[in-house]
Subunit: 344 residues, 2 copies
DNA sequence: TCAGATAATGATACCCTTTTCATTTTATTT
DNA sequence: AAATAAAATGAAAAGGGTATCATTATCTGA
């Protein structure tokens, strides 16, 4: 059963395709189509269950009414919640949303973007996995379609972005730990560490140490790969000498690693906050029901999603390339997982 | 800067669009295009940065190389993980994936599906929010495009599905509680309760009670709306008389409600498993690091995603409407959140 | 050397909608 | 009644690929 086309409709009604098209696109009034004609068209459309062919329309108009979202991993709740809100916003305006995950693979990122451009998306929201380089930046700006960065960004690029203030919140959190009397503060980073997010968090941590005249020590710094968290984590953590109270506090680079840390601590009878204080980036609901509740630096992905969607919509409709970048201030919640360290 | 078209390429090379098309679609050998010509074409394509117009292609072929995923809420990790694997699978085959959330709104579900069909998707993977009705079923089967249900399904429909065995796992979990000596077992359901998932879980619970000659009591049964969990939960839980040990065990209808329950228990000094034993549907990573670790019924969303993707790919390519439905057996993990109840 | 086969390439219709511009019909003015 | 303006509708091109069928160039064998 072939789909009904405009021509079929036209023949069946003895009304030109032009007129029908006007009616269907809400231009009846504007183009002076009589009400009588409009009624007849609308009735027949229902009757024959006419569905416009999107390819023909897109071919003619050049607009796909589709945008693309590219993130590291859609199954990461942080990105999933961003995506939820982006889709929500675009759905309201009649847009559809394509998504794809890069899994931190630069080659995949390039490929996905090419495919999406091929698909004729009207814009892309991207959390880049590739570190900044003039080549990549040029590649992205030369796409000729609106692009908005989320979560991660290229500070020196003209590509607009919606990100959290990772530097400042990392700085503040570290400061908080210092205020609690901690001097041996460890930072657990997640690879790749050359994304703006992780780089800023590391920088904030280091700068806060420096501001307090505390040295940055390699033995208080560890990097993990999210993909193989299970095995090497305790081994590496061993370096932190938590048992011997060498590091007295940890700033954890993201929520997944935090959960892995906690599990590791439980297995090795390391107590929070007695043996070590803990603040985690990226709040999770469960942080508040763990014993003890985990301190965290909360970034609302919903806000990022909303703002990014609105920004992209603006870029698509206005065709101006202006960029009012947004830097969202995370909230720091200090809970029982951080304790005051008495001087000795 | 207008995009380069096939015609441009054709003129610039003095080679017909046909031949170029063959080369670009990997039919060079098959159609007997000389290697020399193929090389020239490929070189020029790179040089001019030719990107095929997807609308034109879709218009001609009728294939969009795009599929749609429709779930209740992409920000629900369960669905996000399903989506991840579906996208992964389709990406390999050159497909793109549209997604949208229904938020359990039947009207939205209908709308999304219509839009996707308009967009010309080659297939849809759907977790239906609408309960079975012959009208809805007919509406879906008359779409004329391959459709696969995930998570939820219509048992009597011919629409193929990949779901978990919710009935059996609910039955078994209830049985486990009974084996541990529990006789007052509560079930916490999530609205809407007329999805196959929740209905099956409730049915399994009831049947297991019956099989053990235990009565189903309304006071041991509660329904919650995921959207407004915070307020009414303790109020409703009060009915379970947990403090007075009226209900000695709870089977929780999904992971979100479980977290809310635990928080509520903490706030009201109700201890697991001393005051009440707990088994939750839908395993979460954090269940194992909570004190005590929470028993759970684990369904691997990855498996559902993989299988559903392969099923839909099969339906798309083979055009046969056969359906080898898949029912996945969840794993039940009994942890310290369930205790033996001594007879008195 | 030429018929016949095979290899290589091209002309063109088609997919369906939007949009420009032209045309026909009806209303208004003088 | 004629001229002009306004309202309503239609013809046809354009958009960029794919696929059918036709055609030309090259090769084979007798």
């Amino acid at each position: 059963m072939k789909r009904v086309s405009l021509s079929d409709l036209s023949k069946s009604l003895n009304i030109s395709k032009t007129t029908i098209s006007f009616v269907l696109n809400g231009k009846a009034k504007e183009k002076g189509v009589s009400e009588e004609t409009e009624r007849r068209v609308l009735k027949k459309v229902k009757e024959l269950n006419y569905i416009p062919n999107n390819f023909a329309r897109g071919l003619r108009t050049g607009k796909s009414m589709t945008i693309g979202i590219v993130v590291a991993d859609i199954s990461n709740p942080f990105y999933a919640r961003i995506c939820r809100n982006i889709e929500n916003e675009f759905d309201k305006k009649g847009y559809n949303v394509l998504f794809s995950s890069t899994y931190e693979n630069p080659e995949k990122e390039r490929h996905i973007i090419n495919v999406m451009v091929e698909r004729g998306v009207d814009g892309i929201i991207l959390s880049p996995t590739r570190p900044y380089s003039s080549r990549v930046n040029k590649e992205l700006t030369s796409l000729e379609i609106p692009l908005v960065f989320i979560d991660r960004h290229y500070p020196t690029s003209e590509i607009p972005f919606v990100v959290a203030n990772n530097y400042q919140s990392s700085y503040n959190a570290t400061e908080k730990l210092i205020e609690h009397g901690h001097k041996q503060i460890a930072f657990i980073a997640i690879k790749p560490t050359n994304t703006s997010v992780m780089a800023d968090r590391i920088r904030g941590y280091k700068d806060a140490l420096k501001a307090a005249n505390l040295p940055f020590r390699k033995k208080y710094y560890a990097e993990f790969d999210l993909e193989d968290l299970s095995k090497p984590i305790y081994h590496k953590l061993d370096c932190l000498n938590l048992r011997e109270h060498s590091a007295t506090a940890i700033l954890s680079g993201n929520n997944k690693i935090t959960l892995a840390l906690i599990e590791c601590f439980q297995r090795n009878k390391i107590l929070i906050p007695n043996d070590v204080s803990l603040i985690s980036f990226d709040y999770l609901d469960v942080f508040s029901i763990l014993t003890p509740p985990i301190s965290s630096i909360q970034i609302h992905p919903e806000e990022i999603g909303d703002k990014a969607a609105k920004m992209l919509l603006g870029l698509i409709s206005s065709s101006k390339k202006s960029y009012d970048n947004l830097v969202i201030e995370p909230q720091i919640h200090i809970k029982e997982s951080v304790r005051f360290l008495s001087e000795d």
